[in-house]
């Protein structure tokens, strides 16, 4: 009988180890891996519409979670269009009209450049732990990587996706797949990471397929061609005046 206590203690300790980290802990680790304070991205969106495929190229400057500036470089029609996000405000500058339009209300639900991403998606706080509480639903192997499947439930009411399912790489803490759902339970979007890259100790998605399930077409591929983390970004970039420069 006396021998049983150390055995039970050992089994209990082992079972905690087997259980692994909680959903919220995993989400925090994901956030730590994916987030960097300053970032400059060169990216391409390959939009597979019902009739044709278009490629939109852009350069983005991001500082923290509240400031983001994007300039579209191609195609010719979109070249010079700029977008600025400051906290919960979003503006788009159209060079052909020299007008800066604030994107608000129902316009936030519109697609960005015809892609499967909406302005609302761009406005979302990238720190998922701020928005969702997570639980581990299961473990799965996805594309040869061992993953946790997390169920994310929104902490707030006014949020685009009430709950999400996320497949998180157990080793790299990068999200490899996500399904985004409405409050009704209807699947709205799916996100599939096709390629990841290792940049300055961060594992980041390099190639992602976004699919708006409610939209016809084959989805939107998002490719990061280059990324500079902790870059020097001048303050003027994140001002409305920069839109007209």
């Amino acid at each position: 009988m006396m021998h049983r206590f150390p055995l039970l203690l050992t089994l209990s300790a082992l079972s905690i180890g087997i259980q692994g980290p909680s959903g919220d802990e995993i989400l925090k680790r994901v956030d730590q891996n994916m987030f960097s304070q300053k970032k400059i991205l060169l990216s391409r969106m390959v939009i597979h519409g019902r009739r044709e495929t278009r490629t939109v190229e852009s350069k983005s400057w991001q500082r923290g979670t509240n400031e983001s500036y994007t300039e579209f470089l191609a195609p010719a029609r979109e070249k010079g269009t700029k977008m600025l996000k400051l906290k919960d405000m979003l503006w788009e500058f159209s060079p052909s009209t020299d007008r800066t339009i604030m994107i608000s209300g129902h316009m936030l639900r519109q697609s960005v450049m015809g892609s499967d991403l909406s302005y609302e998606d761009m406005m979302e706080d990238p720190h998922l732990p701020n928005l969702y509480s997570a639980t581990v639903a299961s473990s799965e192997v996805l594309n040869g990587r061992d993953c946790w499947v997390l169920d994310l439930k929104a902490k707030k009411e006014d949020i685009a996706y009430d709950h999400r399912q996320a497949w998180v790489d157990k080793e790299r803490y990068v999200v490899l797949r996500e399904n985004l759902y409405a409050k009704s339970g209807k699947l709205l979007k799916s996100v599939d990471v096709r390629e990841v890259m290792h940049v300055q100790s961060h594992w980041l998605a390099k190639s992602v397929l976004y699919k708006d399930v409610l939209k016809e077409g084959e989805g939107t591929e998002f490719h990061i061609d280059s990324v500079t983390l902790d870059a020097d970004i001048p303050d003027y970039i994140f001002s409305k005046a920069a839109l007209r420069r």
Partner: protein, 431 residues
């Protein structure tokens, strides 16, 4: 015989006045309602054709399935070739491309910041080409309230109510925020050339009219159009011809599996007639049935009234008929003379009723009835002022029912004559 009966009717007004007034009232009502329904239906057809569907409409198959949502990403492309083919194959119709779109109209202040903004429904038509039929189809010159018809690219017309709401006037700049056919945000500046009022609530409260070339540029739809509308040159909808043209066009553009890709088949053009689109077919069917029911109810109700009038008349003329039977007049002869009387009353009542009904309908045709306040929130292409419309059928629509009702009423009430026994006549007369 006829003049004898006529004299009787004129001299004994109690015999003719009530049935005459009944027939007259019923016929006036039938003629007026018929003219009113004609007016409402033809207004609906014309405004739906002019502002929405044309007499026939060509779209891609994919667009046609979701036409209510104006899916410009599924629009017709390369319309120049299609337009040439339509003009060549069906020269009796006028063909014109259109683009419908939604968006926001944004009015800047002096600093270029948003001063006012509202959702709008846009209609892009061929405004600037000299041979375009659109100015006449949309009746644009008459609809101008302020300013002028666009003379050059970049000029637009806005609904007068919309202009007042946004406090804009001709010469001001407005920015259209919409989305291209590929889904990108489209931001385009326009100069307001004028304001319009079409007298259709759905158009006036939030519409803007743009030249189609400007819309193609703004919405990234080069050589594209959401729809191509066909109009008969006389501005009247000819259903048989529309069906023939539609069948022929759809046959020419039908694909069999194997000779084309799935994508080509989805974006192949398809034609529909005015009636077959926008639920108008069901609506017109309903109106037709409603019209038949009105006439049916009128005949039945009047027959019942006149039957009662006939019974009352028979009671009042009990003695007269008895004497006529007593002096040897045949029952059938009396019955037929009563029917002849009723036909005369029906004829005169229907004639007078038609005349009065036509006069009232004519008044309704000239003055019209303004139902704008009822249609304030309507999205149906229905004119604010409904006018009665007198057609050749209106002249006869009340006449036959008027005759039939009086005839039926008398025919039923007069059957009592055959029940009277000659042997009882003198007893009855003594009493």
């Amino acid at each position: 015989m006829i003049s004898f009966l006529l004299k009787g009717l004129l001299r004994d007004r109690s015999r003719s006045l009530f049935p005459l007034l009944t027939v007259l009232g019923g016929v006036v009502l039938t003629v007026f309602l018929n003219a009113w329904l004609n007016g409402a239906v033809s207004s609906l057809i014309q405004s739906t054709a002019n502002y929405s569907t044309g007499h026939v409409r060509v779209m891609t198959k994919a667009y046609a399935k979701e036409a209510d949502q104006i899916p410009n990403d599924l629009a017709l492309l390369g319309i120049d070739t299609l337009m040439s083919a339509l003009r060549h194959n069906y020269p009796d119709l006028l063909w014109t491309p259109r683009i419908k779109f939604g968006g926001l109209l944004d009015i800047p202040d002096e600093k270029g910041e948003t001063r006012a903004q509202t959702p709008v429904g846009g209609l892009a038509v061929n405004l600037l080409t000299a041979d375009s039929p659109e100015r006449n189809i949309l009746n644009i010159r008459e609809a101008i309230i302020r300013g002028h018809v666009p003379q050059k690219h970049g000029e637009i017309l806005v609904g007068e109510e919309l202009a007042q709401k946004l406090r804009i006037q001709p010469g001001d700049t407005a920015t259209l925020i919409s989305s291209t056919m590929y889904g990108s945000m489209s931001v385009t500046n326009f100069v307001i050339a004028g304001t319009v009022r079409f007298g259709i609530a759905a158009m006036d409260k939030g519409s803007l009219i743009v030249d189609i070339a400007d819309a193609q540029q703004a919405l990234d739809m080069q050589h594209g159009a959401g729809e191509i509308l066909g109009f008969f040159a006389d501005d009247l909808y000819h259903e048989d011809r529309a069906n023939t043209v539609t069948e022929d066009f759809n046959f020419r553009h039908s694909f069999t599996s194997g000779d084309t890709s799935k994508s080509e088949a989805v974006f192949a053009p398809i034609m529909g007639t005015l009636r077959a689109q926008s639920g108008l077919d069901d609506y017109l069917e309903l109106v037709g049935q409603f019209s038949t029911i009105i006439i049916g109810v009128f005949v039945v109700a009047m027959s019942v009234v006149l039957w009662n009038a006939g019974l009352t008349g028979s009671l009042r003329r009990y003695g007269e008929i008895g004497i006529r039977l007593a002096i040897g007049e045949d029952k059938s002869h009396i019955y037929y003379s009563l029917l002849a009387e009723s036909l005369m009353i029906g004829f005169i009542g229907s004639l007078l009723g038609t005349a009065i009904g036509l006069a009232v309908a004519y008044y309704g045709q000239v003055k019209g009835l303004d139902i704008g306040s009822v249609l304030k929130e309507s999205t149906v292409m229905f004119p604010n002022v409904i006018r009665a419309q007198i057609t050749p059928f209106t002249y006869v629509v009340g006449f036959l029912p008027g005759l039939v009702a009086t005839f039926l009423g008398t025919a039923i009430s007069g059957i009592g004559i055959y029940r009277r026994q000659t042997s009882e006549l003198f007893k009855e007369l003594e009493a």
